[in-house]
Subunit: 578 residues, 2 copies
């Protein structure tokens, strides 16, 4: 491509509504343009990267045996009513009526449509397994679209849906997709982790999220550097940090802690480690026609409550925090100095796994300005119910026993999910098994946010000059910047020759023949993030040299003119793993 | 591809709502499945053909210098309000509100969005010309979607929009697109014609429709077999069929023609050619606060009125047919025996070009049951206003003077259109010209109905067994049908070998390893329309032969096993023009 025949629209400043770096840089590089909130044009230079992501996704999906089809964006409400999601889905589901006043939705996802296909087309176990996928524009009416393509309303997704005759088949289909995703993100050239996710509210069980690692990520991920364990912080098992409880060494003692309502203040005041203190978190669950059950969850002072784990404990589904009135009624004191000993009314005590193995610890006394030190299980209070109710922290043992956890931030770009029979049951997608009996199909669903990948790639790869694209999804792999293309025959000839050579070798190269000043050229291509740059000028040519610079290099390297093409080709191919 | 890993869903019967052959065959071949009225799934085998059309379109658009981008499906109402189409567009424009009660449309076309891009991005004549295109899902809320993908609601379109600094530039951009379209439909392998279209109501001037020729087409096309002239019948110039008016030879004579109100009856009664008779068509145009103007249009008895041409004549915009009361008032007689001579009140007479050169012709006498024969211009009535007001018919001279016209039917699959400044003016898309003055951009728009091409291709290419795909857009180019793949080692080995050879040569081949009976296999692939079939069986192999049959052949040909791959490759490549 010659730049004079292309469309380049870089901006000096990002618009005010661009909050994060990928949004700013995609706007400034002219990759996207805003049409409405969360709705963008993909300009030619942006679409090139979109198409490269799509091509890699398509190749790997095909390699994994999935079959591409295309379902409609506009879907009839009846299907969503059958699955129950017409009611369950919030206002993110864009609903509208056609000219005949029939209800439709603009599809945010396609479980209903694909299940409708399966139940009509698949009659026999002999037709299974099958995995249908599409790469398609979706719409999700976000209440506050932001972050550019990271949380837009209209976006491109690859969604796949597998159908199997049994759970073993589903596990195998799931494994193939998991492996395809690993190949996809590896080929794209991103640092990523497959994260065991909490299943959330989608239903079914067994899922992994694929996260691109970036400091600006929305999700906290716990991972083990010495194994492939990775999980959302909310989902990662928090093991006890004390293997065995030590025998008591201190006496129980009521200690004045004036003004120290928080564990940190108590530890400072008493000059003890924070790890000796316990925070008491008071929850409530309501009982029909009776007073609520009040729960006291005991966590180590430096730990935090994990509400997902907590909500899954027996009796705690739908819990809420206790009100101040309830706390005064049950504990005889307002919040701040609460503890498990000497409550006014009985409470259910649950100790976090670590707390359960502590000894000589400190709790609130249920009296303002006082704590109790030297508390020990069994001696001072009964053995507790024990559960994992906290978030893991860096330094925790990895649940797989292979090291200690680190925490990083990630951006979710893919999700593989074992749906089981959720949709098959609600929509009646059955097949005849080997015995001629109808059975529900086992479904999996597998998504990749194609346009989101671009944003995530930038969040992981940028500097103060602009984007630094991985070769595989760069709009161009190489840019040739001739100094004086219009003035110097030597420069023009050399630039054209190199351009032709690289193009014939299948390198995705752009020749900047716009006639811009070098400063403008360099700034544009650094902003756009083309990974390899060649500068050709009269001065260098006199010595038979040109300048090569990778987007990550701080300085240019002089290369003999005759070797330049080979050097650059080798670099591009190495980066693409060819 | 091996059929056992693919998804084939042929049907014995088409659903009852499938009226036309392409709809029936696409359903029966399992290419599409209905989701709602005019909304379809493209199943894997159907999507393969869609993608092949897209790829050809994309290659030729790129070759023509157009730049691919992607605009959103969901568009804010504000843009449509600016262009005026928010009011002008009928209920085909799907309008809806988002969760914040803001108005949006689901784009049926993208003039507004692309003009918004142009006015923001293009500042200077130096950035022109530019041509942006996209291949994208569109929605048009047809009141009665029918004919499968031919008139669906959700469909895939390639739409392109050119921007130029002046009319000459637009003409050049238009020419490039016209030529690209010729290449596209030629490569797809369809018989088509580029038809000069009436501009209809879209605005602007200068357009061609690309029609696939098929007996089932919706449009009548006049074309010249000995040149490339082609136009919609409504738009084609009707030349005078008589080069020069002959001198009168007959006397004017009032002749009884009892009961013969129609030209055909008059000709029969008087035993004269229909070409000697004139039909008088009475039109009216209303005048504010005055009586209407009454027009008498004279056409030869065998010709028909062209209402588009008529409506464009000076004074005739918005014409209507005269009422019976008006006819009685102006002509003194009810309809049936009307003519230009001796009207009660003055009428405006317009003679069709052919009529203007006639002599000794027959007209009504304005008296029931009488005609006047031997009528001649100048002698019996004043020289008329002359205009082209009739539809062309087969046998008419071609307007380009290169032969005579034929009439055929066509299916519109593409449209190139010079918009001029319609949108640039209403939406303020200006640039600074060479003199630093703002000027409106000259726009063209260029559409191809990607999914419609499939339907049109089938309407042109089918038989009673099913579809006959042109190679370039067939879901597969070659099918290998082994007889007893599971039973015979020799058959399986030969089939696998041939499959591997063809695949390595880049042939899009499917091996039917499903283990179906030969009758089922053959019926499926004939229905699906794969253009080349190879049958491998033990009997043939014993003699070193296999069977080849093109989808258009009535019988199979025996080929030596060793030559089969080369023969088939040569046939496919020849068909693809490689």
């Amino acid at each position: 491509m010659k730049a004079s025949r292309f469309f380049i629209g870089t901006l000096k400043e990002a618009p005010a509504d661009a909050e994060i770096v990928s949004h700013k840089l995609m706007m400034r590089a002219g990759m996207i343009r805003r049409v409405a909130g969360g709705i963008y044009d993909y300009m030619p230079i942006g679409l090139r990267s979109v198409r490269k992501v799509e091509a890699i996704v398509r190749e790997e999906m095909n390699r994994a045996g999935a079959l591409e089809l295309l379902m409609p964006a506009v879907q009839p409400a009846e299907l969503w009513q059958e699955s129950g999601r017409w009611e369950q889905y919030g206002p993110e589901l864009l609903r509208f009526k056609d000219r005949h006043e029939r209800d439709f939705v603009m599809g945010p996802t396609h479980e209903e449509v694909v299940t409708d296909i399966a139940r009509r087309e698949i009659k026999s176990y002999r037709q299974l397994p099958v995995n249908f996928y599409q790469i398609q524009t979706k719409f999700r009416d976000e209440i506050r679209p932001r972050f550019g393509v990271m949380r837009g309303r209209e976006f491109i997704m690859k969604d796949a849906y597998s159908f199997d005759k049994d759970r073993d088949g589903l596990a195998e289909s799931y494994r193939k997709m998991y492996e395809a995703y690993v190949r996809i993100f590896t080929r794209i050239g991103l640092e990523f982790r497959a994260v065991a996710a909490d299943n959330g509210s989608i239903g079914g069980s067994g899922s992994h999220e694929f996260h691109v690692i970036a400091d600006t990520g929305e999700d906290d991920i716990a991972y083990c550097p010495s194994s492939d364990f990775a999980a959302n912080v909310e989902a990662a098992d928090a093991l006890p940090l004390i293997a065995q409880r030590a025998a008591p060494t201190e006496e129980l003692k009521k200690t004045p802690t004036p003004g120290a309502a928080k564990c940190e203040a108590v530890a400072q005041l008493l000059n003890i480690p924070l790890e000796k203190t316990i925070k008491s978190i008071i929850l409530a669950t309501d009982n029909e026609g009776a007073e609520p059950t009040i729960w006291l969850l005991m966590l180590r002072g430096d730990h935090s409550l994990n509400d997902i784990k907590t909500g899954k404990l027996p009796g705690l589904a739908g819990y809420r925090f206790a009100t101040e009135a309830e706390i005064i009624e049950w504990f005889g004191t307002p919040p701040g100095y609460l503890g498990p000993i000497g409550t006014k009314k009985p409470v259910r005590v649950i100790a976090d796994r670590t707390v359960a193995n502590m000894s000589d610890f400190v709790v609130g006394t249920n009296e303002v300005d006082y704590h109790t030190t030297g508390v020990n299980w069994g001696r001072d209070l009964p053995e507790p119910e024990v559960a994992d109710v906290r978030n893991v922290v860096a330094g925790d043992p990895s649940p797989d026993g292979k090291g200690t956890l680190e925490i990083c931030r990630g951006i979710e770009v893919g999700h593989v999910f074992q749906l089981g029979t959720k949709y098959s049951d609600s929509m009646g997608a059955t097949f005849l098994d080997e015995n001629g009996k109808p059975a529900p199909m086992q479904m999996g669903c597998y998504g990749i946010g194609v346009t989101r990948v671009l944003g995530a790639a930038i969040e992981q790869n940028f500097d103060d000059k602009g984007i630094i694209w991985p070769e595989a999804i760069a709009p161009f792999e190489v840019v040739i910047c001739p100094m004086g293309y219009d003035r110097s025959d030597a420069v023009r000839e050399q630039a054209d020759k190199l351009y032709a050579t690289l193009q014939q070798a299948g390198i995705d190269v752009i020749l900047d023949d716009r006639g811009e000043r070098p400063g403008v050229m360099f700034a544009d291509w650094e902003l756009i993030g083309v990974p390899h740059r060649i500068v050709i000028g009269d001065r260098g040519l006199k010595e038979g040299k040109l300048e090569y610079q990778s987007r990550r290099d701080t300085e240019a390297t002089l290369l003999p003119v005759d070797e330049a093409a080979d050097v650059v080709m080798a670099k591009v191919r190495a980066a693409l793993g060819k």
